[in-house]
Symmetry: C2
Subunit: 217 residues, 2 copies
DNA sequence: CTAAATTTTTAGACAAGACTAAAAATTAAT
DNA sequence: ATTAATTTTTAGTCTTGTCTAAAAATTTAG
């Protein structure tokens, strides 16, 4: 149906979109490690296929068709990540690269069977929601740790940055999804936190606190 | 390492090679549904990469490096086929197309873990051997059914043609790998056989008998 | 052994996707 | 409101892999 390149652009636009009206050419180029001129070419192609609206010099936004397509790719990506962790003993910092390849395999039956085989998981190994066949997914109430105050308690349920280095940092601190966390102290000067994790106290920088999603008790 | 296109050419040459010294341009083009001119271009590229020897106007043969590469692709293809049948309830006539895509996924860990997950199978769903990481595989003693004489008995252990239509024919006749078969009669006129399968007698044409591998008792 | 048929290669073109350099449009700064 | 800086697009090139048509080599037939 769509080339791997087209799928990667669709995914990039989807992830950059957020609340924004239009995603700029440069933002897309930055995320995809390509040049702006390549993006312009592709945006025209996606617009021709009715996958994106393209406003020259302003940027692009996915159409409903494009959003559905993005959700199907993300569904595949996240289901494969669960598969790799649950069935093949991959760690959560190893799955992304392989899922980047597997997400482009074309077979409706394959992905539906993987879903069933895994027991219809709702979250991937990084806490991100898995869309269903129609692009719908559960929205969970969650708060970024850096919004919490002394005394707040909760559970780690997701990450903003899921880069390999961050995942390895979390492993080193024995923090994983489901880990209970309590805010012991907050330092105004550098915006760092002291938190209690697994019964021990831990200092985390602002950067760390900005990338952890907590579900409050 | 190698592009998907290169991998597909390598696989085609490998399968056409057999005992032959050289595989011709046209044979490759025929198997891959491309034109001879495209094959010529690719053979030069494979020769440059030391994956094949190319003798202009004569044909090509894989180098040791090319053979190893072919075996690794075939290993992946067949392991994925086993996975689809054993873990995801695919039937043996549905797996090939999906495996054609999955065989190009690049991840040593992925394929080794799949292998382990499946219990290191030695045969794929069509009875074909699965090479190990080094390209070695078990050779089984087997006879084409059309070589058998009245009274011979054995077990169906492999297929020459594994096309969807042939697999569906076998399903219809309740024949699968491991099915016991006995030669009841042979008709000289049209070279057809009467065989006993699952306690019942069945007429099979020469074409059928030419595509079944039997292990004699 | 020569002529015809077949196979293979070459030459030139095209599509997808990427890049560089230059031009045009937009945005920011005086 | 101009000018300067930034962003985006256009124009032209490259690579990979494909194709058609024509030329060259090989094989088959008479
Ligand atoms: Mn991922
Ligand atoms: Mn993920
Ligand atoms: Mn197959
Ligand atoms: Mn097979």
């Amino acid at each position: 149906m769509h080339s791997i390149s087209e799928e990667n652009y669709i995914k990039a636009i989807y992830h950059l979109q957020g609340g924004k009206a239009l995603v700029s050419t440069n933002e897309i180029a930055g995320r995809m490690n390509t040049k702006a001129s390549s993006v312009t070419d592709m945006l025209k192609k996606l617009a021709d296929k009715n996958l994106a609206e393209y406003v020259p010099y302003k940027g692009a936004r996915l159409t409903d068709k494009g959003v559905l397509c993005a959700n199907q790719i993300i569904r595949k990506h996240r289901l494969w990540e669960v598969f790799l962790v649950e069935k093949l003993d991959f760690s959560w910092d190893e799955v992304h690269e392989v899922a980047e390849q597997l997400e482009h395999i074309q077979s409706q039956k394959l992905i539906d069977q993987i879903d069933k085989h895994l027991g219809f998981p709702k979250k991937d190994p990084h806490g991100d929601p898995i869309p269903d066949r129609h692009g719908n997914y559960e929205k969970t109430n969650k708060t970024v740790l850096s919004k919490l105050k002394k005394g707040d308690k909760g559970t780690l349920i997701g990450l903003i940055d899921s880069s390999k280095n961050f995942l390895k940092y979390l492993d080193k601190q024995h923090m994983k999804l489901g880990t209970h966390i309590e805010i012991v102290d907050f330092e105004e000067f550098d915006l760092s936190y002291t938190i209690k994790v697994n019964g021990a106290e831990l200092q985390i920088s602002k950067l760390i606190s900005d990338n952890l999603y907590i579900k409050l008790n």
